[in-house]
């Protein structure tokens, strides 16, 4: 107990008395944590954006006006049985008109004139897919159903080639971002760890003589290692504090920019509502990196 307290005390003391080394290590730690946070956010942001796009390009099956209600019901049931479908929602002609009315000022006017000519808007089934990749296949399967005679057209076959290309691109990007993002973040994490590890290793290297002296005076491995690990953790704590403080203005400016340019409200909202979790992660990561680097760096000096 008394030893543990001494290890902490000596770790704190060393951090402050080696002010220069501590500042350097802390600065690098802060930059590393900031970059990692940006990276994590970017991946999350791009994926959230793609998700939103995916939501928008789900399949809409338009139904001809002369279809009967039981025919529509039958089609809806059959569509549900097609593989790869999440949900099917029926939107009646009246619903469609209401949606148009509520969409915007422009829509309100359009809806008014549409009402005047007897609502030309078609009823439809809105099909949500489990996976976007399937959209072509699902469209084909629905088209081949015997009940499909009441379908006037679908959002997929009404698209010209150019828009199909866009959908396919979105699918590709979505898959790519997941894969590349995973690899990139792993690579980046390793680079960041190497930089911070080497910084701490240099800090310890300049003090190898001290380690030597502690050994000669009869300090046990833990008594020597402990304070360095405390120091490494302190770099983590200070670095995380700087990173968090820096994140507030950056987050505000960048957040506003993203919301304005990319309609990124949901991704931003996620980060804001989980702010404590984000901050906790930054601190946790900082302490973990600092402590682990110190541990590894000191091991080679500790052979008794």
């Amino acid at each position: 107990m008394i030893t543990l307290w001494r290890v902490f005390k000596s770790g704190f003391r060393n951090t402050f008395r080696n002010a220069w080394l501590s500042s350097a290590a802390t600065a690098i730690m802060a930059v590393t944590l900031l970059i990692m946070t940006f990276f994590a956010f970017s991946i999350y942001f791009v994926r959230a954006q793609l998700n939103e796009v995916q939501q928008k390009i789900d399949l809409t099956v338009f139904i001809s006006d002369d279809a009967k209600e039981d025919q529509v019901k039958a089609l809806q049931n059959k569509v549900l049985q097609v593989g790869g479908i999440d949900s099917v929602e029926f939107v009646s002609k009246a619903d469609a008109l209401k949606r148009l009315e509520n969409s915007s000022e422009e829509g309100k006017k359009l809806a008014k004139s549409a009402t005047d000519i007897g609502n030309p808007l078609p009823a439809s089934l809105e099909v949500k897919l489990e996976k976007l990749d399937d959209i072509g296949g699902v469209n084909k399967q629905i088209r081949e159903l015997p009940e499909a005679i009441i379908i006037s057209e679908t959002s997929f076959d009404s698209r010209d080639d150019n828009r199909k290309g866009v959908i396919e691109n979105v699918i590709k990007i979505s898959n790519g971002v997941t894969k590349v993002g995973g690899v990139l973040s792993a690579v980046f994490l390793i680079i960041a760890l190497m930089i911070i590890f080497n910084t701490i290793r240099m800090a310890i290297f300049t003090r190898r003589e001290e380690i030597e002296i502690m050994k000669l005076v009869g300090a046990t491995k833990w008594f020597i290692r402990g304070p360095f690990i405390v120091e490494g953790s302190m770099y983590g704590v200070f670095g995380a504090t700087i990173a968090t403080i820096a994140l507030i203005p950056i987050g505000r400016v960048a957040g506003q920019f993203l919301v304005d340019k990319f309609n990124a409200g949901s991704a931003m909202a996620y980060f804001t509502s989980n702010l404590w979790l984000v901050v906790l992660c930054i601190y946790g990561l900082g302490i973990l990196i600092g402590a682990l680097s110190s541990w590894l760096a000191i091991s080679r000096h500790l052979k008794l």
């Binding site: 008394i2 003391r13 003589e209 030597e212 009869g218 300090a219 046990t220």
Partner: protein, 226 residues
């Protein structure tokens, strides 16, 4: 107290640092070990604090047989032997007081005991005034006295001083030697290595001469001859 029996140390590059050296030092003795550079003095000291392991031969200090001690117990062994080096080996980030206290802290001594013992030992070596100075702020002689205080604060039975005056001027050197003699009078075995002929001749204590890894002379009241 200290027994070396036909100890040989051969380094991996085939350098023979000690070859069949035997010596026996009694409790409360004051022994000076002399020899040219490279004669094997430093190897001998390193053996005693188990920084070095002999290629063959036996070392017994106190009642501890160095062959049987395991790695985990090396720190405990080192706490029983006080060592003073030519280059002081003080922790630069700790004050004089903290450097001395550090030796007790690693041994798990209680704070109250540290607060009692450190000022006492600093007074013994004459450093009470400089207790809160850093090693960089005091003279060489004062640094060496700090190192001696650190070695003594745990009440070791043996104090090993490896060329403690090597970096000091004559006046400071004599202060250090007189301090060692005082410590010896209190009952601590002192093993001193030095190159300083004047000091060795004036001491009129036992002198062990080492040459090319062998004990070539061992006199009760010796002189510095190589």
């Amino acid at each position: 107290m200290i027994l070396l029996d036909r100890v040989t140390v051969i380094y991996p590059n085939k350098t023979v640092a000690l070859s069949g050296a035997s010596l026996h030092i009694q409790p409360k003795e004051f022994v000076t070990i002399v020899g040219a550079s490279g004669a094997g003095k430093s190897t001998l000291i390193r053996l005693l604090i188990k920084e070095e392991v002999p290629t063959s031969g036996k070392i017994i200090v106190g009642s501890i047989d160095y062959d049987t001690i395991d790695k985990a117990n090396i720190p405990h062994l080192r706490r029983k032997i006080g060592v003073v080096f030519q280059d002081f080996k003080l922790l630069p980030n700790l004050t004089v007081y903290e450097n001395v206290a550090f030796a007790l802290e690693v041994s798990g001594v209680k704070n109250a005991e540290i607060k009692r013992a450190v000022p006492k030992i600093l007074q013994l070596v004459g450093l009470s005034e400089k207790a809160h100075h850093y090693p960089g702020e005091i003279s060489g002689g004062e640094r060496q006295r700090t190192a001696i205080a650190r070695a003594l604060v745990r009440n070791p039975k043996i104090l090993i001083a490896d060329e403690p005056t090597g970096n000091l001027d004559p006046k400071n050197s004599w202060d250090i030697i007189e301090l060692l003699l005082k410590i010896n009078r209190f009952g601590t075995t002192v093993v001193l290595t030095t190159h300083n002929k004047e000091i060795v001749d004036a001491l009129k204590k036992r002198v062990i001469t080492i040459n090319r890894g062998r004990v070539v002379k061992d006199e009760k009241v010796g002189k510095y001859t190589l």
